[in-house]
């Protein structure tokens, strides 16, 4: 079982209490305040704010961005993890480091980079505009692109250590038994990584829904057109629409809490499965 001790001296208890206090003050209290502020002028105001055109538009846009981002990064992350853990090639380490760029880089910088390259004045952006009359920035495509960029490491980062520790023998066994590469992936690899994969998806989704910095640079903040929920919160706050801002914030916070719940369930599920396997061994 766990190797940790119960705290038994007064300073150990103080440390635990301090940790709890910090969590309450820094994390729980603001969350409570959000919901309190949203409902400050009654549920009716919340309902009317929730059904306003801006809000519905923002919710739709947020969901659409997430719906495109998550599958793209699901496939991308699995491919990347597969490459890094299943093949031995020059530059493998480099590739596995490059995956982390979105983690290391401020999202605003990422947004600006995309703006410079794909914007109306940018190299690629200008060419696309001239040739196909396509505008990526200040529209849905640009917002999806930066969200994909910002969230692309999550799935790969969850899968790589797992797939590394699992090794390749089971896949080799499958292929020796006549499975094609695709069959080996579908019947052997995927069942072994499915919980980790779901976990990666949950993280990706949480980040995609909540992304502010990068998206705000490339969205152009066009009301009713390119505002996602986080951008709408900022806009409503600047308009002194406190209830509106907090309603949108509450909605986002609720999504985050659901995500957290899902993540906890998945983690619990994975560890209890592991424990069950270990227990039957002994």
């Amino acid at each position: 079982m766990s190797s940790a001790n119960r705290p038994h001296k007064w300073h150990q208890w103080t440390l635990v209490a301090a940790a709890f206090a910090a969590v309450v003050v820094l994390l729980v209290l603001p969350l409570v305040v959000i919901f309190a502020e949203a409902f400050a002028q009654g549920a009716g105001m919340v309902a009317s704010n929730l059904t306003s055109d801006d809000m519905i538009g923002a919710i739709q846009l947020t969901v659409i961005v997430a719906l495109i981002t998550v599958p793209v990064n699901l496939v991308f992350g699995v491919l990347l993890a597969w490459c890094v853990t299943r093949y031995e090639f020059r530059g493998r380490k480099l590739l596995s480091t490059l995956i982390d760029i979105p983690f290391a880089m401020s999202p605003v910088v990422a947004g600006l980079c995309y703006l410079v390259v794909y914007g109306g004045q940018g190299l690629v952006g200008q060419w696309l505009d001239d040739q196909f009359n396509v505008q990526l920035m200040f529209a849905l495509p640009g917002m999806v692109m930066v969200t994909v960029f910002v969230t692309c490491p999550y799935v790969a980062r969850v899968l790589i250590p797992l797939m590394q520790s699992q090794g390749t023998e089971e896949e080799e066994a499958a292929i020796l038994l006549g499975a094609s590469g695709w069959q080996a992936f579908w019947y052997v690899t995927l069942p072994r990584i499915r919980w980790a994969l779901l976990y990666g998806v949950v993280l990706t989704n949480a980040r995609a829904v909540g992304e502010f910095g990068a998206v705000s640079v490339v969205s152009g903040l066009i009301r009713g057109e390119t505002l996602t929920l986080p951008l709408l919160i900022q806009m409503l706050n600047e308009d002194y629409n406190t209830v509106g801002a907090f309603t949108a914030a509450g909605l986002l916070a609720a999504m985050a809490l659901v995500t957290l719940l899902l993540k906890t369930v998945l983690e619990w599920r994975q560890s209890s499965k592991l424990n069950a396997a270990e227990e039957t061994l002994t």
Binding site: E169, E170, E172, L176, L177, G178, A277, T280
Partner: protein, 364 residues
């Protein structure tokens, strides 16, 4: 199906794991690849399976070149050292996996698969465990499931990587006999890798002794033991005692120790090392005319019919010597505490100063 390996070379980043390996495995034989870790035996097995591509050379099944043939079309049965069972599938589903992967036209129906799985699990005596998951099985049970899975597609070649490596001594012995028996039943051409001399000796028809990417010797277990082709083979097959000393054409000497040896001129004067197998010597309370090797008993262990003795040389040599006597001889000897005993070798292997094996000699 016969297997022929022809001039195989394989390097990993400049390191030659296998260097010009050629080998013939006749139809239906059980061949053991024996060598220390790093000798290239597992790489050779993986090349035969198609899991690794050789840099040079060919692999032939029934004289058909399969070097470039895809793994999944080679139709070999392969048992991994760590079994590599699909941990998310039950025992029955593990065994059925190969059958379910067959193309639609060749795939047997649901009932046929079930019948085949039962038949295989009965063969490996695991039919009562069909519904269990790999994590719920012991090492020996996993091993048998892995074997059943490898046999499901009726391969004509069966390859086993350290099949008993991860098992405890008793289970290992049992499974060894059982594999030998199974091989007689189904007569599939089999190659297995091991670093355990006893295992290779007991199970194989032919033993291939490997070291550092080379084949040192190929032969029946008896041949490689009785007529080792090199010092390495002699060294590797069972424990040996190395006695170092000087030879003058008639007498070998080292400190207090003397041995009269007639090598018929095969060994030049000078440094001469003698290899002594533990069971090729006896002990006496007095020296013999041809052998004067005083020793003191350091430790003994009684196990089964033999007594293994650790002897400390008195006034010669360096390390502890190991000698095996049968129980009766030991009982008759009954030495006192600290009594000096005399080692009487029956047969010795000479090793010349350049490290080659010289003739076998008996002191006289």
């Amino acid at each position: 199906m016969s297997i022929r390996v022809d001039g195989i070379r394989k390097t990993f980043g400049g390191f030659a794991a296998l260097d010009d390996i050629s080998l013939n495995v006749p139809q239906g034989e059980l061949v053991g690849l024996l060598g220390p870790s790093g000798s290239g035996k597992t790489t050779l097995l993986r090349i035969i399976a198609g899991l690794e591509k050789p840099d040079r050379g060919r692999v032939l099944f029934n004289e058909r070149d399969v070097t470039t043939l895809d793994v999944r079309r080679r139709k070999v049965g392969f048992v991994f050292q760590q079994y590599a069972l699909f941990r998310h599938l039950t025992v029955a589903d593990n065994v059925a996996f190969g059958l379910r992967m067959l193309p639609r036209g060749q795939r047997p129906g649901r009932d046929a698969v079930r019948a085949r799985v039962r038949e295989l699990l009965e063969l490996v005596q695991m039919d009562t465990m069909a519904g269990r998951y790999p994590a719920q099985l012991s090492g020996g049970q996993k091993q048998r499931v892995a074997l059943a899975r490898a046999l499901a597609l009726e391969p004509e070649v069966l390859l086993l990587d350290e099949p008993f490596g991860a098992l405890d001594a008793k289970v290992r012995k049992e499974l060894r006999r059982w594999l030998r028996h199974l091989h007689e039943q189904i007569s599939v051409t089999s190659v297995f890798v091991t670093h355990d001399q006893e295992e290779a000796m007991e199970v194989s028809d032919q033993v291939v002794v490997m070291s550092q990417g080379h084949i040192e010797q190929i032969g029946s277990p008896l041949t490689v033991y009785e007529q080792p082709a090199s010092r390495f083979v002699f060294d590797f097959l069972g424990h040996i005692n190395a006695l170092e000393g000087l030879y003058d054409g008639a007498v070998w000497q080292s400190g207090e120790a003397r041995l009269r040896l007639d090598t018929h001129g095969a060994c030049p004067d000078g440094a001469l090392t003698l290899y002594l197998r533990p069971h090729e010597a006896t002990l006496a309370k007095a020296p013999a005319g041809h052998a004067h090797l005083p020793v003191k008993l350091a430790a003994r262990s009684v196990f089964g019919g033999t007594v293994t003795l650790e002897l400390e040389p008195r006034g010669w040599g360096s390390g502890v010597l190991e000698v095996e006597l049968d129980r009766d001889t030991w009982a008759a000897l009954a030495p006192g505490r600290d009594e000096t005993l005399y080692l009487l070798p029956r047969s010795l292997q000479t090793v010349t100063c350049d490290g080659d094996l010289g003739p076998r000699v008996a002191p006289a």
